[in-house]
Symmetry: C2
Subunit: 109 residues, 2 copies
């Protein structure tokens, strides 16, 4: 199966949506924790702009990454699995060939 | 005296620099306090992006406002006085006509 002709049945779409949302929440949780840590250390004026730079960078990556088009989803999941925001168990219930492709995409990048 | 032909003697330049820096520190202090307040209330993921929007907005205003060119300084001081980041006592030692112009610019805008 190529990632270009992958089909998602209704049950898989539900699993994919939940996995996608969970990964997003995990990543946002990381960003919130990092933000709180930076604020706790905030002293110099210029650190305010470092925090702004940090958020700009994370936001642009998040915006770019969380693309819920079915044509992109295996690539997105591969990346999220590699980065640790998606766990293998989140994919449980997807077809074996999809899981295999996601794992292979996750190790390729 | 027009703001176009204003001259700054060395003593005034020193006072102006100190006043400018003090206003900047006050404004950054405000931003830091607002940031800490927002972080204390941080719950939903989307609030992270509200904080980012807040910092983007303040940064662009600060970058635009703190222009230390002598040709701009009376206008800058007028605005900072109006906004409360500059205090009248910070201007002590500048010529009377400069103070008068700054005050008039501060009430005009």
């Amino acid at each position: 199966m190529s990632i270009l002709d992958v089909k998602w049945d209704p049950k898989e779409k539900k699993i994919a949506r939940a996995a996608f949302d969970k990964a997003y929440q995990r990543e946002m949780g990381d960003i919130k924790a990092a933000l709180r840590e930076q604020i706790a250390k905030l002293k110099d004026d210029e650190m305010v702009w470092s925090i702004h730079n940090y958020l700009s960078d994370r936001r642009s990556k998040v915006d770019n990454k969380y693309d819920y088009r079915y044509s992109q989803l295996l690539l997105v999941f591969g990346r999220l699995l590699k980065e640790g925001y998606l766990k293998e168990e989140d994919l449980f219930g997807l077809s074996d060939d999809k899981i295999k492709l996601i794992k292979s995409l996750s190790s390729n990048k």
